[in-house]
């Protein structure tokens, strides 16, 4: 009798404990991820799409049972294209919302603004946009292209026979850190290839520049000096539409003066009649036009999620997709959302690219990805005309700038460092 009673009590206690733990679990039954993309202001045009991409990925993972048995919940904030506000919102996400990871930022200046916050609070940021390199933070995973995965191959292509054999270059950019650094690397690269400074023209314009008449005329004049000339454009955001309109109207044919752009994708071309632009180039790691099963499935999923079959997909969306998948895999592997554990699990993580091949996360927090160069078509798509044979590992520190060529980024033992000339834990 006594034992039965005791058994009953034990069972009750056990049951209580189980329900208790269930209640406890219910409280943190969700894994929160932060979405830090501008939904208003000048960058909303590009970043809103990425917010939707993250929401789509979250929706997708929840449909297939969540992560570690928990539901994933996206916390969306709007930093409103205001760089200091990015830092405030990042702090809010990490301190108040206690998110496991943040997907966000577009411009380099916004990334630089949140960097100290992520390092101070040991957060995780997945940055999905091509950028100027020269950085490797312990708290950031860069899923967009580094210069050696976009700018350098593009210029090599322009110099090749297929690309027209360009010998003179115009470097046009918006006046901020990404174009200036990229052009510094390109100038060093071109000089190394035997192209003198006299054959390089650099020009910067403010954000949102809309009157391109003079600059396009200057490019024409620069191109008429007897050598094949190509334009490398790091023009960002809204300024591209009037730039391309002016190019088209002044009748600059792509065979004569090809323009290769690093910030113009399917999304930017959507507001434009691309008829006069056929043949101008773009360099990315992803094009919507690539025929692959994974890509078709992704496009279909996107159209279903956004409820509009006219919407395009672009490279930063693929980078967001890869970043999110890798993070989810790393969380599964680590069995926890703890930042340090997830970071360790990230290295060597692989996700199939949407365009074929496999993206690998390297120890310098950059991906190995294929590089594609495409020509703009009259339907606003970009068709691949050249691609690398395999994946190119992203290089945090450019080999073409003397002071950064010496630096190594490697966050595993014995280096454990983002910009070192020697390992931190080297044996003496």
């Amino acid at each position: 009798m006594k034992s039965v009673k005791r058994g009953a009590i034990a069972a009750a206690a056990l049951a209580a404990a189980v329900t208790g733990s269930q209640e406890l679990r219910a409280a943190d039954d969700v894994i929160k991820v932060g979405v830090l993309h501008s939904l208003s202001g000048t960058m909303a045009i590009s970043e809103t799409t990425l917010k939707d991409t993250v929401l789509m990925m979250v929706d997708d993972i929840n449909r297939s049972g969540g992560l570690l048995g928990k539901k994933v919940e996206a916390v969306v904030v709007d930093p409103a294209s205001d760089w200091p506000l990015f830092a405030e919102k990042a702090r809010e996400l990490l301190e108040k919302e206690k998110v496991a990871a943040v997907f966000g930022c577009w411009t380099s200046v916004s990334r630089k603004s949140v960097l100290p916050v992520f390092e101070e609070l040991n957060g995780l940021l997945f940055y999905p946009v091509q950028y100027e390199g020269e950085e490797s933070s312990r708290n950031v995973f860069y899923t967009g292209a580094a210069p050696n995965q976009q700018a350098i191959p593009a210029v090599e292509y322009l110099m090749s026979e297929d690309g027209g054999g360009a010998e003179r270059f115009v470097l046009l950019g918006t006046d901020y850190v990404y174009p200036r650094t990229t052009n510094k690397i390109l100038r060093a690269f071109l000089n190394a290839k035997g192209i003198s400074d006299a054959d390089i023209m650099e020009n910067y314009t403010p954000f949102g520049h809309s009157d391109w008449q003079t600059i396009v005329a200057e490019v024409k004049a620069f191109a008429s000096q007897g050598k094949k000339t190509a334009v490398v454009s790091t023009i960002n955001g809204d300024a591209n539409v009037p730039f391309y309109k002016e190019l088209g109207n002044q009748g600059i044919a792509a065979e004569e003066i090809p323009v290769v752009a690093f910030s113009v994708g399917e999304e930017e071309l959507a507001g434009l009649d691309t008829g006069p632009l056929v043949g101008h180039l773009a360099a990315w790691n992803y094009f919507m036009s690539v025929e692959a099963k994974a890509n078709d499935a992704f496009i279909e999923q996107w159209h279903a999620f956004i409820g509009d079959s006219d919407r395009v997909t672009n490279d930063p969306m693929e980078a967001t997709y890869i970043g999110f998948k890798m993070w989810a895999q790393a969380v599964k592997q680590a069995g926890s959302t703890d930042v340090d554990a997830v970071r360790q699990a990230m290295y060597g993580q692989t996700v199939p690219n949407l365009t074929g091949g496999t993206a690998v996360m390297n120890v310098n927090h950059h991906l190995s990805k294929p590089v594609l160069i495409g020509e703009i078509q009259d339907d606003g798509m970009i068709e691949t005309v050249w691609s690398t044979e395999g994946e190119v590992p992203g290089d945090a520190w450019s080999d073409y700038i003397p002071e950064s060529a010496k630096l190594t980024a490697d966050w595993t033992y014995p280096w454990v460092c983002g910009n070192c000339e020697a390992p931190t834990y080297a044996m003496n």
Binding site: I45, H209, T214, Q250, A254, E383
Partner: protein
């Protein structure tokens, strides 16, 4: 895209030429070359283009043209080469070799035979040599230009023959240019080359300049590219002559660009000249009126696309009054709802209208989405008028200058001669007196604000042709607009005109030397200094209006 009539005519013509000149190649050979076009390697593709063009068959021209236009496909189903013409979401296809019609298929059923810039240039050159004898002068000009760019030695006799036949002076000039360029590049005879350089000196053209510069230039190692010193001297002479012409044309182009920028500034500022200049309301939402005008254009064009695609070219003519009415209505709403409570309190007006501008932006973002909207250019606003080498005036800019001046003229007439204009001037000069004379001052205020906003909306129609149609469109113009109005003299329409044009010109003449960023800063500094000296702007209003 080439019209069917013209395509058919040129095909017929080519078939006749081909039949006269060359034996018909077997369809099998054409198919083999087609396979070559679809190779992965660009060298193989280029070889296939050469073979197709050498065959000279009419079919080959159609195939090359389709290849160039991106209309040459392979069907996924049976791997057949077809030429497609777009229709709706899919393509109407015909067999590339036989021309047999194969009906309509979806986009996804076809794989495009890819072309790139290198091949495009090659194909254009080949097509040019095949179409030098076309009956259409425009096609002959295109052909001559393609040959000019390809500089192929074997074209010399064909060019000479074509030049002798040619009646049209314009085409003849292009042919002479192509011939001289070919001779300069490919001939071994010194006299011929020097004569070619002399001929080229007549063409003030950046592309010809490039040719002469290549001959006159020093190589990378410091040795001259051209060993013969006489030829080099002739090239230098040609180069100098072309450069003189280009410099003059460059000056004219600069003036045009300055006037064009000025006209954009004028359009953006002219509405503000009324609301700020005449009424004294600091309207920070002025830029958003411009933006609403641009979105109205977008909506009108969507209606045209859906209901009457054939009349698309007329869409802007409908968009102008539509944008005026929409933004004028919004303007009247703002005036009646907000601003009339704040007259005489400029700071509150500034904050309230700034808040309104944010609300309007976010509203548009919610309704139309944050991404750019495509506003098409009607055909009469696309392309450029090539006046001379180095002087190309784009049609959209020309029309915007005309439009800006027309809007300005109409506005001046309305204010000077209409009954409403008289009332408006009366109210701004002396509100109490006007009121006691029986003028409904509240109504005049609302109408004036509506007029200013409506004009901003019309500016939006014009700006949609050269700028992004996005929720941020207006922000880029608000500062410039205030600058123009303050510089020109508050309350004076003529001041706005002169202010806008002079700012445009100064900006464009500074830009080549100072760059776009520094140029803008310099202009801003100059205006600040100018305002220190003349606080009332270029044309100050005198008399009682100042005290009002």
């Amino acid at each position: 895209m080439m019209s069917f009539g013209r395509l058919a005519r040129s095909l017929l013509f080519l078939a006749v030429t081909a039949a006269l000149l060359l034996p018909a190649t077997a369809a099998a050979e054409v198919s083999a070359d087609l396979k070559g076009l679809a190779e992965r390697s660009n060298d193989a593709k280029a070889a296939a283009v050469e073979r197709l063009a050498a065959g000279g068959e009419a079919r080959a021209v159609a195939i090359l043209q389709a290849f160039l236009d991106g209309r040459l496909f392979r069907t996924k189903e049976d791997d057949r080469f077809v030429i497609g013409a777009r229709s709706g979401g899919g393509y109407v296809i015909a067999d590339a070799v036989t021309g047999e019609a194969l009906g309509e298929v979806g986009k996804r059923a076809l794989r495009k035979v890819r072309i790139n810039n290198r091949l495009r240039q090659l194909v254009k050159g080949k097509l040019g040599s095949l179409t030098l004898g076309s009956p259409d002068p425009a096609a002959r000009i295109r052909a001559a230009d393609a040959v000019f760019r390809s500089e192929r030695a074997e074209m010399t006799p064909a060019l000479q023959a074509a030049l002798e036949r040619e009646q049209d002076a314009k085409v003849a000039a292009r042919l002479r240019r192509a011939l001289a360029a070919t001779q300069l590049a490919r001939s071994d005879d010194k006299e011929t080359r020097i004569a070619a350089l002399r001929t080229l000196a007549d063409f003030v053209d950046p592309e010809v300049r490039a040719l002469a510069a290549a001959v006159a230039a020093l190589g990378t190692d410091g040795t001259p590219a051209e060993p013969d010193s006489e030829i080099r001297a002739a090239a230098q002479e040609t180069l100098d002559e072309i450069e003189r012409g280009l410099a003059f044309n460059g000056f004219l182009a600069n003036v045009f660009q300055g006037v064009s920028l000025g006209s954009v500034l004028l359009l953006a500022a002219i509405g503000l000249a009324i609301t700020f200049g005449v009424m004294g309301v600091i309207n920070m939402a002025h830029g958003e009126m411009v933006m609403l005008g641009a979105y109205t254009t977008f909506v009108v064009q969507e209606v045209f696309r859906a209901a009457a695609p054939g009349l698309f070219d007329l869409s802007l003519l409908v968009a102008v009054p539509a944008a005026f009415l929409v933004t004028a209505a919004v303007g009247v709403g703002i005036e009646r709802g907000v601003i009339r409570f704040l007259y005489g309190r400029p700071l509150e007006t500034l904050l309230a209208t700034w808040g309104l501008s944010l609300i309007l932006q976010q509203l548009v973002r919610s309704v139309f989405g944050p991404t750019n909207r495509e506003v098409g250019n009607p055909s009469w606003m696309s392309g450029a008028w090539e006046v001379a080498g180095g002087l190309t005036l784009t049609y959209n800019r020309i029309w915007i200058i005309v439009f800006a001046l027309a809007v300005f003229a109409v506005l001046v007439l309305v204010i000077r001669f209409s009954r409403y204009g008289l009332q408006m001037r009366a109210v701004t000069q002396n509100r109490a007196m006007a009121s006691s004379m029986g003028i409904r001052t509240g109504w005049v205020d609302a109408m004036t604000f509506g007029l200013g906003s409506g004009i901003a909306g019309m500016a939006g129609v014009a700006l949609s042709q050269i700028d992004n149609v996005s929720p941020n469109l207006g922000q880029g113009y608000i500062i410039d607009s205030f600058m123009v109005v303050v510089f020109g003299g508050v309350g004076n329409l003529w001041g706005t005109l002169v202010g806008a044009l002079s700012l445009g010109l100064v900006n464009k003449f500074l830009e080549p030397y100072a760059g776009a960023v520094l140029g803008k800063i310099l202009v801003l500094v100059a205006i600040i200094l100018f305002i220190q000296k003349r606080p009332r702007g270029l044309f100050a209003l005198r008399g009682r209006a100042l005290e009002a």
